[in-house]
Structures are given as structure tokens and as C-alpha cells.
């Protein structure tokens, strides 16, 4: 995703490791991958199978129910499209934050993280509007299996967005002081993952119309 930035980050990252606090720190990296990055990838592996389980169930049911295509037409596709755009923009800003952090520019990184948070908030706002609109039309989570899947999958995703926002906010406060710069990469990887999940959810739940 951001190989160039990673390559420049490596030396800075190693100095950061040597001076990290005694509790959350790396002793030594037997591989060339920093321990924190390794941890976050294994974390994402476990997240992939959680969403994977839900998506697989949905796809199997969807194949059995071609009529769900018409139900999907009741979702607000334009709102979902705008949200996709917003979320992808937030991926750009978190990459910019990572790049700035790798170059040691902590103020710039902190600003880009604030922009990411802003995009996340817009995403959550639009999502809340969509839920309100759908529920007002009677498409509640118990209105049928399609809507059950719709609310549990987008709901779980929204919880992950919220969790990511909390993590970015907590980290942003340290980054603004010039601390924990290497961790920007880790929240960034997580944030990209949440985006990618949305890239799957959007066509599955909004776009695919006919079985």
C-alpha cells in the first residue's frame, strides 16, 4: 500500500523502539518486521475471519434468495456512494499522516489524523441518517432476513469505524506531542482494513440487484 513510506519509516522506527517505554516496547525483532506491525497483521487476520463468517453466510443466503435484489433497492445507494467516497478519502489522509510521521513531522501527522477523524464522523453521520430513513420506511432489523444481515453487517462495520476513531483520537493526542510516531502506521493499517470491509459491503448490500 505504502511501500515507499514504510521503507523510509524503518530506520526511524528502530530508533523509536530503542527508546520506547519499558512496558509496551519491542526488545528485539528477530525478523525484519517491527513487532507492532506483526501484531497488527495477526489482529487483522482474526478480524478478517469474523467479517468473513458474516459475509459468507450472507452470500450463501443471497444465492438462495434472488428476490433480495429488490430489497437492496430500498437502501440509499447515493448515500452509500458518498460514504464510500468519504471513507476512501479518510484512507488517503491516514496515509498522509503515516508519511508525515515517518518523516518525523508530528504536527503534520496530527493534522492529517484529525482530518481522518473528521471523515470518520461524516461517515457515521450519513450512516445514522440512512438507518433513520430505512427504519422510518419500516425496514427494521426484523423486517426480514435481508434487513437482519444489512443491519448486523453494517452495524458491526460501524462499530469498527467507531473503534478506529477512538484509537486514532487517543494516538493523535500523543502524536501532537511528538510521541509514539511509529504507531501511526498501525492505526493506519487497521483503518485501511475497515475501509476494505466497506468496499465489500457496499456492492453486496447496496448494488447487486438481481440474483
Amino acid at each position: 500500500m505504502s511501500d515507499g513510506a514504510t521503507a523510509t519509516a524503518a530506520p526511524a522506527a528502530q530508533t523509536a523502539a530503542a527508546h520506547a517505554d519499558p512496558h509496551g516496547s519491542v526488545e528485539r525483532a528477530a525478523t525484519t518486521v517491527p513487532t507492532g506491525r506483526l501484531g497488527i497483521w495477526w489482529f487483522l487476520a482474526s478480524e478478517i475471519v469474523i467479517f468473513g463468517g458474516l459475509v459468507t453466510c450472507y452470500v450463501l443466503f443471497r444465492l438462495r434468495h434472488p428476490e433480495w435484489g429488490e430489497l437492496a433497492a430500498h437502501t440509499l445507494t447515493p448515500a452509500g456512494a458518498v460514504n464510500t467516497f468519504v471513507l476512501l478519502t479518510s484512507s488517503l489522509t491516514i496515509v498522509l499522516a503515516h508519511d508525515a510521521a515517518a518523516r518525523g513531522k508530528h504536527r503534520l501527522a496530527s493534522q492529517a489524523m484529525m482530518q481522518t477523524l473528521f471523515c470518520g464522523a461524516i461517515f457515521m453521520g450519513i450512516k445514522a441518517f440512512e438507518y433513520g430513513h430505512e427504519i422510518a420506511q419500516g425496514f427494521t432489523p426484523v423486517a426480514g432476513l435481508f434487513w437482519s444481515f444489512y443491519y448486523s453487517m453494517t452495524g458491526l462495520h460501524a462499530l469498527h469505524v467507531l473503534g478506529g476513531m477512538v484509537a486514532i483520537y487517543a494516538l493523535q493526542r500523543s502524536v501532537a506531542r511528538g510521541e509514539h510516531l511509529r504507531r501511526v502506521e498501525y492505526v493506519g493499517i487497521y483503518w485501511h482494513f475497515v475501509d476494505i470491509v466497506w468496499i465489500f459491503l457496499f456492492p453486496l448490500l447496496y448494488l447487486a440487484s438481481r440474483g
Partner: protein, 589 residues
């Protein structure tokens, strides 16, 4: 063929000096935390967290064992008055079945095998100061502790704990109108989900630590087998727990929000839950088996003074077991109306998985061949694990083949099989491990006489309990029956039920020597010294018990962990951290 000759890389270039990494000076002041709370309760030290998992797991084992005994009393004498409880009713029996299974798998096996031994051994055996993420480690234990409170708390809510079986199949679990239980099942789902989250955090930590914090000179193929098995077990858990978490969320939504994921009337499918559950549930068997085998793999070479036979074969078998474990789950559904064209491949993969496991067991037996075997309690339990597990493994072939399984499904044969498959890794493995690593954990030796009493009691009564169940199962005795007197065909098997009940009572009593030994030796045990067994792996290079930060100086690694009785050496052992030529210090200290 001399196994020593195939020991990988006796000669190798000197490992890089530890100072090259420079990280050690930066936080060299690894101070022992002083306050009681930081030191014993909210500790980030992997050894303290291991002990927290250990004591929680042992406590829950007593709870689970007590529930088992209550069930056995009911089956041996239906309607009998139990002192302090009165006669048992059907709902209570179902609760005990559910909570016994849940407790033993998630709150005993997981914390003891992965929580206690994983946490204790991984940093020590790779020469690290602590886990990669010590605070995540602490969070993992306390999430687990919370899940324990939720699980035990569910006994005291209105309606009592969950009665819907440890597999929680819908529709029974999905709609309170069938089970009559609202809060017990809610809390059960919540407790299991929290437990999963705790061990996901733990697993990420174990894998990352073992991959990245290895001492200078330690390659992945110098890892002791138990660490490989802990890694593979953690990876299996990581990739299988997700679907169950998704499935549990859907179950909870079905129960609370009124969705219909598992309700055919709403377009859902109850079989979906079985797939999600067993996609996790069957790999979980190997999550528990592998660390048990790993403990045996560490103990056999030490007490037969021989290198482990076929290190690489065991390693690849472990990985193959891990991969195959993901393609066997539907053998739990041979009688759920599964398409026979699907039953055949699932039979095949199920039976196929016995091949890598058998390779591992045969390698263990070959390790013993012509060794100078010393029958310590740890060694006895390791050998017992192999022997008892063989019965579980062989009977698994019958369950795995669809044709035979359709006959024995949901009988006591299955109950006997999975107890023979799970008790060896979970309990024999744990006992072997605790007798072996107790000196390192607590700095003192355990008593061998009490240990042998414990071993023989346990081994005899496990068989007294579960061997009759094979016979009962083949004669058609169904499992999960509350009152066998309702079926005239089961009347002549009462004697075998009584025998099994005597077995569990004996099994519980056999644990008394262990408890006496464990707590007594804390105070009166002989002082152990750093390496009482003359073993090679790195944990024995640290003081007993190791201080905060484990090693006085960063150890380097010069060879694989199983170099015993190498020709041309004065000693029959050669610790991993000693340069070639250096004599092992002291013999038995």
C-alpha cells in the same frame, strides 16, 4: 541411523552479539514492581499472568469436575436425594451438562494449556524478557477473568445457567420459549464471546512473541516443539474463532432483537449455526491437542536422555494437522441431513487427519527407543498421555467414517471417544507439564511419591469412568438422557453407569494428592536450583523462579534444543545457550 547425527547444525557461525540491537540499555532498568497490586494482580509479567491463568483454570477444573460428579450421581441412581440439593430435576441436569462441557473446554483447557503454559514458556524458551505486548497480555487475562465471573454468575440469575447444551444449537437456544431460560443463555453467549476475545488477544501475543523476540542465533527451526505447537494452535484459534463470534452475534440478535438467522419461518436456517459452531469447534480440538503433545515432546527427550526423533517430521505434521483441522467440521453433521456427497469428503479428511497425528505419536515412541528412561511423575504422565490418547484417536476413526457414525452418533460411544481424546492432552498434558515446570515456576521440587499416587489414581479412574461408556454406546445408550429408567432397554446397563460414577468419584479423589503436593511443595519442597532435570532448553538457563525480566544477560543460542547423549561429549546434555565446547555447569543441582 543415529538420531544425533541428524541433529540440525551442531556447527554454525557465532550468533550476532546482543549489543548490536542496542535496545537493552535503553530500558535496562527492568525494576521489579513493588506494590502488591502491580505485582500480583495487575501484573504485566508473563510469569505472573501464567500463574493467574493457572489458578483460575485449576479452580474451574474443580467446578467442572463437581458438575460431572453431579451428573454421574443422577445417572447411576436416578431420583436419588443428593445431600444438600435434594432430587435433581431435568432442567438442572441439562444445566450441568451444558456448564460441564463449556467449563472444561473454554475455562479449563484453554487457560491451562494456552494461558498458563503458553504465557510461562514462550518468552522463557526464546530468551526474551517478556511477551511482545505485556499490557495486552494483562488485558487478555482480565478479559478472561471477567468472562469467568459472567459464566459463574449465570448460575445465580433467575432461571439459572444455560440448559441448552454446550453446542447451543438453535432453535433450542435461539428462542427462550423452547428452553424456558432467558438470562442464563444470554450470559452464556456473552461469557463465551468474552473468552474468545481474551484468547484472541493472547494468541496474537504468543505468535508475535515467538516470531519476533527470539534470542540472537535462534532460528525458527531451533524452536522447541512445544513452541511450534503453541504457535500452530494459536493460528488455528485465530482463524477459526471468527466465524463462531459472528455466529454468536447472530444468535444473540435472534434471541434479543427478533431477527431470524436461524429461524426457518423467517427464511433462516438452524443448520447455519451448526456449520459456524463446528467450523470453530472442531479445530478447537486441535487447539487443545497440540499444546498437550508439545508438553510431551519436551518431556520425553529429557527423561530418556535422547534427542527427539524426527523433529522436522513432527513439525510438518503439526502444520498439516493445523491445515486439515479446518476441513473436517461437517463430520458433526452426518446425521443432520447432510448431502451424502458431502459426507464422503468429510469422512475422508477426518480420517486423513489421523495420519499426521500418528506420525507425531510414532516419533514420540521412536524417541523412547533405547533411551535411558527415568520414570519421574512428569514422564509417567507424558507416557500416559500417549497411551490414553491412542484409545481416543483410534475410536475417532469410527466417528469420522459416516457409515459407522450414523449408528453411534449421540450415544455414549461419542461421549467416551471425546473424553479419551480430550482428557489426555488437557489433563495428562497439564499434569505432565506442571510436574516438569513446577521447579521453574516456583523454585521448589514437587514430591514424587504423592505425584505417583496422583498418576496411578488418575490413570486407573479415567479408564474406570470411560471404558464402560464405549460398551454402553455400542449397545445404544443415548447421551444427554436425564432419566434412563424411562427407557426399558437401558435397564440392564445400570451396573455400567454405577461403575462410571465410581470412576468419576475416584478421579476427583485422585486429585487430592496433587493439591496437597502443589500447595505443600510451595513451602516444604526441596529447593530446585536452576536446572534440576539437566535439560537443554532456554528456560532452564534462567534462575528458578525467574525474576522480572527473566535473564540476567541476554542469552544467545548455539544449537537445537534436543542435543542429548551426543557422541564424544562428557555430559549427556548440551544446553542451547552454551557455546560449543563449554561444559554444562554442574550436573544435578
Amino acid at each position: 541411523m543415529n538420531p544425533v547425527a541428524e541433529a540440525p547444525a551442531i556447527r554454525r557461525p557465532a550468533p550476532p552479539a546482543p549489543a548490536a540491537h542496542g535496545g537493552d540499555d535503553a530500558h535496562g532498568g527492568h525494576h521489579e514492581p513493588e506494590s502488591f497490586w502491580r505485582r500480583y494482580v495487575f501484573s504485566t509479567d508473563h510469569k505472573m499472568i501464567a500463574k493467574q491463568y493457572l489458578f483460575t483454570g485449576v479452580f474451574m477444573a474443580l467446578v467442572g469436575g463437581f458438575l460431572a460428579q453431579l451428573m454421574r450421581v443422577q445417572l447411576a441412581s436416578p431420583g436419588a436425594e443428593i445431600p444438600g440439593m435434594g432430587a435433581m430435576h431435568a432442567g438442572q441436569y441439562n444445566t450441568y451438562v451444558t456448564m460441564h462441557g463449556t467449563t472444561m473446554i473454554f475455562w479449563v483447557a484453554m487457560p491451562l494449556l494456552l494461558g498458563a503454559f503458553g504465557n510461562f514458556l514462550i518468552p522463557l524458551m526464546i530468551g526474551a524478557k517478556d511477551m511482545a505486548f505485556p499490557r495486552l497480555n494483562m488485558l487478555s487475562y482480565w478479559t478472561f477473568a471477567l468472562s469467568t465471573v459472567v459464566l459463574l454468575g449465570s448460575f445465580f440469575v433467575p432461571g439459572g445457567a444455560s440448559p441448552v447444551g454446550w453446542t447451543a444449537y438453535p432453535p433450542l437456544s435461539a428462542n427462550p420459549q423452547y428452553s424456558g431460560n432467558v438470562w442464563g443463555v444470554h450470559l452464556w453467549i456473552l461469557a463465551v464471546a468474552l473468552e474468545m476475545v481474551a484468547f484472541l488477544m493472547g494468541g496474537i501475543n504468543y505468535i508475535t512473541t515467538a516470531i519476533n523476540l527470539r534470542a540472537p542465533g535462534m532460528r525458527m527451526k531451533d524452536l522447541p516443539l512445544i513452541l511450534w505447537m503453541q504457535i500452530v494452535a494459536s493460528v488455528i484459534f485465530l482463524f477459526s474463532a471468527g466465524p463462531l463470534v459472528a455466529g454468536a452475534v447472530m444468535l444473540l440478535l435472534d434471541r434479543t432483537a427478533g431477527t431470524g438467522f436461524y429461524n426457518p419461518a423467517a427464511g433462516g436456517d438452524p443448520l447455519l449455526f451448526q456449520h459456524l459452531f463446528w467450523f470453530f469447534g472442531h479445530p478447537e480440538v486441535y487447539v487443545l491437542l497440540l499444546p498437550g503433545l508439545g508438553i510431551v515432546a519436551e518431556i520425553l527427550p529429557v527423561f530418556s536422555r535422547k534427542p527427539v526423533f524426527g523433529y522436522k517430521m513432527i513439525l510438518w505434521s503439526t502444520i498439516a494437522t493445523g491445515l486439515l483441522s479446518f476441513v473436517v467440521w461437517a463430520h458433526h453433521q452426518f446425521v443432520s441431513g447432510i448431502d451424502p456427497r458431502l459426507a464422503a469428503p468429510f469422512s475422508l479428511t477426518t480420517i486423513l487427519i489421523s495420519v499426521p497425528v500418528a506420525v507425531t505419536l510414532f516419533s514420540f515412541i521412536a524417541t523412547l527407543w533405547k533411551g535411558s528412561i527415568e520414570f519421574t511423575t512428569a514422564m509417567l504422565f507424558a507416557l500416559g498421555m500417549i497411551a490414553v490418547f491412542l484409545i481416543g484417536g483410534v475410536t475417532g476413526i469410527l466417528n469420522g467414517s459416516a457409515a459407522a457414525d450414523i449408528y453411534i452418533h449421540d450415544t455414549y460411544f461419542v461421549v467416551a471417544h471425546f473424553h479419551y481424546a480430550l482428557i489426555p492432552p488437557v489433563f495428562f498434558g497439564f499434569f505432565a507439564g506442571i510436574y516438569y515446570w513446577y521447579p521453574k515456576m516456583f523454585g521448589r521440587m514437587m514430591n514424587e511419591t504423592l505425584g505417583k499416587l496422583h498418576f496411578w489414581g488418575t490413570t486407573i479412574f479415567v479408564n474406570v469412568t470411560f471404558l464402560p461408556m464405549f460398551v454402553m454406546g455400542l449397545r445404544g445408550y443415548p447421551r444427554r438422557v436425564y432419566d434412563p429408567t424411562q427407557f426399558s432397554s437401558l435397564g440392564d446397563m445400570t451396573l455400567m453407569q454405577i461403575l462410571a460414577t465410581v470412576g468419576t468419584a475416584g478421579l476427583l479423589l485422585s486429585q487430592v494428592p496433587l493439591l496437597i503436593n502443589f500447595f505443600g511443595s510451595l513451602r516444604w519442597g526441596k529447593v530446585a536450583g536452576p536446572n534440576p532435570w539437566r535439560a537443554n532448553t532456554l528456560e532452564w538457563a534462567a534462575p528458578s523462579p525467574p525474576p522480572h525480566g527473566n535473564f540476567a544477560a541476554q542469552p544467545s543460542v548455539y544449537r537445537w534444543p534436543y542435543e542429548y547423549s551426543a557422541p564424544g561429549r562428557a555430559e549427556d546434555w548440551h544446553p542451547q545457550h552454551l557455546p560449543s565446547g563449554a561444559a554444562a555447569e554442574g550436573s544435578r543441582s
